[in-house]
């Protein structure tokens, strides 16, 4: 329906009504938008609820006990506000600046009233978060988030300093953590108020004093959970700068794991509980370390003993080798000697003669196979050798009335000097042997 038709089709007003109109709603909506935008721009305070984000805007309701307003904020305004992550949540106390606005809608989209927010600040706890966030950026820009993390931390400190509340549960938790590590060294307690932002100076002094105590190798700063306002002391700029520049590593455990205070950012290590902080202060499990060291000592001893023993055995083997060789040769010599004596007794010469005969026969056979006149000559020569051997056979000599003399142990005695030296001798006759004693004149 075109506007002309629409104009023509406008119905009559309500009978009896004195009010002007009827007017077209779109025109009226636009007029309303215009009027609202003319209102004075103000700052409002309340709690933000039902926070929703779209691609272009952030929507929420600003409420207090007496009423509420739907609010909307363009994303570019939101970005300019640098509102810290986690600060703008349901229930957050916020201050908004802006003015009322009206979206007139259309035939296809719903109209809506909003308070158009051009600037927003999180107040209360959110404000603290925003302050912490600003300070964190400042410390980061000053390069103070790094120095503690670069400090070497001892695996087995002898002395640990602890900053905590004297009556808090954190103290027991630290002791429990150390007991879990089996650590029983020197513990220096620095008790300080840990409740509010006024405690920061005392905590700063405690940390400085502990670092000055000779032998303190690591400092634990511990506090149980609490509201951010309670924990705000640990976000103090002076404290954080002091910790960041300390030469002794600081292990922080402030609040629960969901809380993030500034000291967590500047410390060497941030832990979720005081027990974990104590364990981080002594990375080594002392009982296990004792077992490991004992095992190392045992392995060293084994290696040392094995190295010496193995080499000693080898040396002993080497030293025995020559003696064994000599003994072996000696045994062989004895055997040969025994065989020679036995052979002498049994007429070894005859045996030798027989062997010679056999050799001669073999030679003869080979000679027989040889051709020519030399064969007959060789045979005659062999016959002569055979006869000569037979003539020298001791048995035949003894049979002719000679005797063989030995020293009684098998060694043949062939001279008067040997006989004199032997003193007792044996005489072998053809039938038997007899003992004889050498008598000197």
């Amino acid at each position: 329906m075109d506007p002309v038709t629409e104009q023509a089709a406008r119905p009559e007003g309500i009978a009896g009504s004195s009010l002007p109109g009827p007017f077209a709603v779109g025109a009226y909506a636009r007029k309303l938008q215009e009027e609202l935008r003319k209102r004075a721009r103000v700052q409002l305070v309340g709690e933000a609820w039902n926070v929703k984000r779209s691609k272009a805007r952030v929507y929420f309701e600003l409420r207090d006990g007496d009423g509420a307003l739907p609010c909307a904020m363009w994303n570019d305004a939101w970005e300019r506000g640098r509102i810290p992550e986690g600060a703008f949540v349901d229930g957050a106390q916020v201050v908004v600046a802006g003015g009322p606005d009206y979206y007139p809608g259309s035939r296809t989209s719903s109209p809506g009233f909003t308070f158009d927010v051009t600037a927003l600040r999180v107040a209360g706890e959110g404000d603290l978060l925003a302050q912490v966030d600003r300070l964190r950026r400042k410390l980061d820009a000053g390069g103070l988030l790094e120095p503690q993390r670069r400090l070497p931390r001892p695996a087995l400190p002898r002395t640990i300093g602890v900053v905590t509340g004297e009556s808090g549960k954190a103290r027991d938790d630290v002791l429990a953590g150390l007991a879990r590590r089996g650590w029983e060294g020197r513990l220096v307690w620095a008790f300080a108020p840990v409740q509010d932002r006024h405690a920061a100076a005392a905590i700063t002094r405690a940390v400085q004093d502990l670092a000055a105590v000779a032998g303190v190798e690591v400092i634990v700063v511990a506090r149980g959970g609490g509201s951010l306002a309670d924990l705000f002391a640990f976000c103090d700029e002076t404290l954080c700068r002091t910790v960041a520049l300390l030469a002794v590593p600081v292990i922080a455990s402030v609040g629960h794991h969901t809380d993030r205070t500034l000291i967590d950012d500047v410390a060497a290590v941030a832990c979720s509980t005081p027990t974990h902080a104590a364990e981080a202060a002594v990375p080594l499990h002392c009982a296990e370390a004792r077992v490991t060291v004992g095992r190392s000592a045992q392995r060293l001893a084994d290696h040392g003993r094995r190295a010496v023993l193995a080499r000693a055995r080898h040396l002993a083997q080497l030293s025995r080798a020559p003696a064994q060789a000599v003994a072996k040769q000696r045994a062989r010599l004895h055997q040969l000697l025994r065989e020679m004596r036995a052979s002498a007794r049994r007429g070894g010469v005859t045996e030798a003669g027989r062997e010679l005969h056999a050799a001669a026969a073999a030679l003869e056979r080979r000679a027989g196979s040889a051709r020519g006149a030399s064969a007959a000559g060789r045979r005659a020569k062999l016959d002569a050798l055979g006869s000569a051997l037979t003539a020298h056979d001791p048995e035949r000599i003894v049979a002719r009335g000679y005797a063989v003399v030995d020293d009684g142990a098998g060694a043949v005695v062939t001279s008067a000097a040997e006989a004199r030296a032997a003193q007792s001798v044996r005489l072998f006759f053809a039938d038997a042997d007899v003992r004889a004693t050498i008598e000197e004149e």
Partner: protein, 80 residues
Amino acid sequence: MSAPEQTYETATSRLEEIIRRLDSGEAELRETLALCKEGRGLVEFCAAELDAVGQGLQELRLDELVARLEAGTARPGEPG
């Protein structure tokens, strides 16, 4: 320049190195004996370090240390 101070970490890491070398079986007798000697020294150092934190927890208060320091009876590093 003085040698870097021996710590529990440096001692145990050198000890592991020594045992690895001995386990390899490549060390000669002279080296083996030298490594064993060095290792025994390291074991003694580590055992002494562990003993130092195994003789019962000693708890001190910083405020008392500071008070004694101010009274001139002891340095903070040498309590009692």
